[in-house]
């Protein structure tokens, strides 16, 4: 995956770039809005990571300019402004995801990977399959092997989101945002409880567990 990090804080940018390279991605850096815009127009990237407050040209204006030029590369906005209306403003300007600072790298990585695969992803499929687990998005039926599984509506949406991003790490915040549409910190790890309920319904009694906890990051549904 090829990334462009537009961030004026040298240390932060270096740190992210290094971390992405360690997990096998290619990361370019731009220290200001103008250079970032030029690079993003010039080269092909899978995801752009854009800081909101940048010298020369602010982050939202970079995104606006890119979208105006018809460049639809997914954009993740980084911002020290973490409030509700700031996020809404960022997404309205053409951003695809919004991550308030400070963030953990695992959160950033998980979100960037989801963004990168979104275009070629399984959004259009009507049936998601992971190993012998099957989820029908139209009839809302779930089967594991030969057994029907009964889920609450919210559990269904939780599983649907996890299966849509099968093989990818999904963080707790991502689940809270995408499954519940809540954008705040629920203090207690309520998500963990929901996951363990779901796990008991789809994994209990089967030899091969599918729903895995990724330490320090989140959860993942995968075959092996």
């Amino acid at each position: 995956m090829r990334l462009l990090i537009i961030e004026d804080d040298r240390d932060a940018a270096d740190y992210i770039a290094r971390a992405f390279r360690e997990v096998g991605h290619v990361a370019d850096q731009a220290p200001d809005g103008e250079e970032g815009l030029a690079l993003a127009v010039d080269r092909q990237y899978d995801v752009l990571i854009v800081d909101r407050m940048l010298p020369k040209r602010d982050g939202l204006s970079v995104i606006g300019e890119l979208r105006a030029k018809g460049i639809e590369t997914p954009v993740l906005i980084l911002s020290a402004l973490g409030q509700v209306d700031d996020r809404v403003k960022g997404l309205r300007a053409g951003g695809d995801d919004y991550l308030p600072k400070p963030y953990s790298f695992s959160e950033l990585l998980a979100r960037v990977e989801v963004l990168a695969r979104r275009r070629g992803g399984r959004g259009e499929e009507t049936v998601y399959r992971v190993a012998d687990l099957e989820l029908d998005r139209l009839s809302h039926q779930i089967r594991r092997g030969k057994q029907d599984i009964d889920l609450q509506p919210r559990e269904f949406r939780l599983l649907e989101y996890l299966m849509k991003h099968a093989g990818q790490v999904v963080t707790r915040t991502m689940l809270l945002e995408n499954v519940w549409d809540y954008h705040f910190d629920p203090q207690t790890n309520v998500i963990d409880v929901h996951i363990s309920r779901l796990r008991s319904k789809i994994d209990k009694g089967f030899s091969q567990p599918l729903l895995h906890t990724i330490r320090g990051a989140g959860y993942m549904i995968r075959d092996k």
Binding site: D85, R154, F184, Q187
Partner: protein, 510 residues
Amino acid sequence: MTNDLVTTGARPAAEHSPPAGWLRGGRARLKALIWPRLSALGKLSNTTAFKLTLVYLTVFALFAACLLAYFAWNTRRLITEQITRTVDAEITGLSEQYNQGGIRRLVFIIDSRARRPGSSLYLVATPTGDGLAGNVGLLGEGVLEQTGWTETVYRRLDDPEGTEHHALVRVFQLPSGFRLLVGRDLDERERLYDVILGAGQWSIALVIVLGLAGGFFVARRVLQRVDAMTETSRTIMAGDLSGRLPTAGSDDELDRLAVNLNVMLERIEALMRGFKEVSDNIAHDLKTPLTRLRNRAEEALRTGKGESDYRAALESTIEESDELIRTFNALLMIARAESGQASTPMTEFDAAEIARGVGELYDPLADDKGLTLRIEAGDNLAARGNRELVTQALANLVDNAIKYARPHKLDASGTPADVLVEARREGDHIALSVSDRGPGIASADRGRAVQRFVRLEQSRSEPGSGLGLSLASAVAHLHGGELRLEDNGPGLKATLVLPRGGPQLPQPSE
């Protein structure tokens, strides 16, 4: 000043001729003495009230002057008219007498009339200009030669002092060439005219003097109040935020302004107090975990034996810093909610949906702790506000309730749940409440419980930042509502009461 002069005079001879510096000093002292008065006068005359008075005064004086001038002129005209009419009538009568009885009769009549006190002026003259009868001694040059109306000086024959007066006269030529002059003295007219003009001038002068005095008085009163307000605002600016502007209770515009400013000051004071509390509490409650964080890192460096030790230390460091970030975010959120609604987007939302959503999110958590959570949400609970903030506030309350609730023995008939999440209407408000069966909060502590970081003794053992209730309270205030804490007997019932129409602008307390 006189004191200074005396002491100067008593100085030794060498100092008798005062140096130039003394003169300057004296002048400066004089200036110092007079200047404050002058500048006070300048300040007074610089007030809006005084300037307005001046404008009104000028306009009023001009009007009065015009009115008086018109009045005087008209009076004069009327008197002239009356004189003309009298003289005309007399001339008609006299010429008739002449026609009937000739010059003899005319002379006779005029003689008798001229002797009456306060009579008109009469003169009968021959065609050559010699007087035959009448009471006029001296006349202006060439008056008799010209028939018709003339204003002239004259002297009365019967006037012992022989002073000159003014008169309006008419010269009439009789058929035989004799000339008849009849006139009236004009002094009365002039006197009346002068009296009116004089009275007018005086009254205008009086108006100006009184007006100026009134203007000064009004301006001084206004200025005194404004000065008092300025004085108070200065002490407030100097840092004493508890000061309030004086109000006279008269409900005039200055009073209303003062009342409004006081409301504003109250708000500022509350904000500043909040700000101070935040910084105090940040200092107190963030320093503790920061110190812990630092100590742990230091200890790992000092005693760490291998990779696994370091890893464990780093992991706990990250955990600890995540907790710090969480606390910090909550603090920011509260500060933002408290700073007012200007930047918070408000939309229509359904309180029932929020109650159901939050209840459902926390239900498994309650279940894990062996608690039952029940949701009771009515219909038609639309309200205006920030959906996310209200959701977050309710989530905090539910989170708290689950933390402190104790499992309650259920009998067969289904007694109240351990945690009850309710949404209902209360008149113009909607109420979102969370009741638990935990230890509750003693009524004496309830006020304190919504303050930041306050964690009542019994709750110290539970994890959390202690910001849940204060955040809920801040969100309620942002919406123009309140957070109500009640006894649930046993337990706590926390209710977010929000106006359905959203926040209203703060009204000055009447």
